[in-house]
Symmetry: C3
Subunit: 206 residues, 3 copies
């Protein structure tokens, strides 16, 4: 246990909480997006794009705060890395929505909803965890559960590939649906990378 020489700077924790809340908002939009009829997708895609911009704004606010801060609660590069990793999550969800809008498939495979359920659990855990960065306490459950959810996402993803490749779809449809499903899998991986950075900060600062 090292002495904590760095004072708390609550603004960083507030900004990370904003980024976490925005991820939860984006995931709610995604949940709705994969269930609504085709003609309602456009409206939700616009909202998702707004969430993606809000994510960019949150990242920029964190980096600007870094520029203004003489001392920081964690190492500067870790704050930077966590901001970038949080941003990645929304980028992948927005990419999934954008590609669905572009390809406009009549229906997404049923199991896409299972993928999104896992992302929703990850988003809630992440939004809940951000305020606990202030003390770095009670975070073990966060990374353990995110890792379990990411394993679950892997299994759902592989079964989705098996479904896509079962011979009942034409190859171009398979390729399009796979692009969408891939982005959702990348979003699950991105949650794991967020958890890894948080874990790495906890390991370093504890």
């Amino acid at each position: 246990m090292r002495l904590r020489l760095k004072p708390r700077d609550d603004r960083f924790f507030d900004l990370f909480s904003v980024a976490g809340t925005n991820i939860a908002t984006a995931t709610s939009l995604l949940r709705e997006f994969v269930t609504v009829p085709t003609e309602e997708r456009g409206e939700l895609a616009k909202k998702m794009r707004a969430a993606e911009h809000a994510g960019d704004d949150a990242t920029h606010a964190i980096v600007e705060q870094l520029d203004r801060s003489f001392i920081t609660p964690f190492d500067r590069e870790d704050i930077y890395r966590l901001a970038i990793r949080l941003d990645d999550v929304v980028d992948y969800m927005d990419a999934a929505v954008d590609l669905t809008t572009l390809y406009n498939p009549e229906a997404l495979p049923d199991n896409v909803r299972l993928q999104v359920e896992v992302l929703d659990k990850c988003a809630k855990l992440t939004a809940d965890a951000m305020p606990r960065l202030a003390t770095l306490r009670n975070l073990t459950d966060f990374w353990v559960q995110i890792n379990e959810l990411e394993n679950e996402a892997d299994q759902i993803y592989r079964r989705l590939l098996q479904f896509l490749f079962n011979g009942s779809h034409d190859p171009l449809t398979v390729m399009k649906l796979k692009e969408i499903v891939d982005q959702l899998e990348f979003a699950a991986d991105a949650f794991e990378h967020v958890a890894d950075v948080v874990h790495s900060i906890a390991v370093k600062e504890s």
Copy 2:
């Protein structure tokens, strides 16, 4: 040459050696897996899953040791990062085996064996290198050779794609086989990332 103020903690090197040995075990299973008749794949897939769990256990043991250690032989985040990168290698090999079990192709392309030969060489070099982390000496050959093998893996992979795309397979078969071959290529990349972390530690600590 900086003064070494950090004492050795042999437990970390023992744990990294366990992770390295587990990678070599997993790669041996993979070698067998890509040569046996289809009906023997199931048994080997179970053993691979066990190796994947053993990899997780090795990673957890390293992170728990970090939590218990007041001082560490390298920077804490580098120990954490190396543990994660070693884990990735087995995850990709397990994914290749899992997808092969799911899709159950009658035969894998011949050159998959060449991919696996390269992974086997990488695994042996990695298992051999882990104990040398204790002194950070005689590691140059490790990352130079891993980089050369990764280049070789790239070439084999691109020729495999050329073979898959030569028009003698139907598109869905190509997509399935490509998913498997991709995971093996990711495993080769993962060995390079391990070597990069080791190189980065050596550069920092020397």
Copy 3:
């Protein structure tokens, strides 16, 4: 603003400038490659391979300089990471060229030229930015513009996928062209990773 205790070591900045200039050279070759008739591709592919080797040499020179240097202008691992990230850019461009040579498609989709135009802008910004590492001043425009260009590259890439998947190409042709287009998208991502490392260094050292 922390006191700068580390002296400048101009050799690092010279070597990063060499790597940056090499990226600009490789991108010029790529621009030519995607416009020439099929029979002229071979000659340019050889030159690209030479640029890829020159990139490797630049990386090695930076790492050797690290080994020889007692004190460094930035943290050692950041110098190492930046060298690796710069190398990645040329590797992806070389991979795109190599796969095009292997598959030998009669024509690349028109929008590949748009992808390459964006890479060309990224390369010029990167080559221009490297000498400014010496002072870490006037770099904000670099990462802001690279991020904007990477967003532009994403949009071009998604429209390219839409074109490839529009039903006017057979699936194997789509898969081959997608492999090539993917490598160019990875190159755009790699420029963003370079900018992220530079930004991270600026955040840490400022």
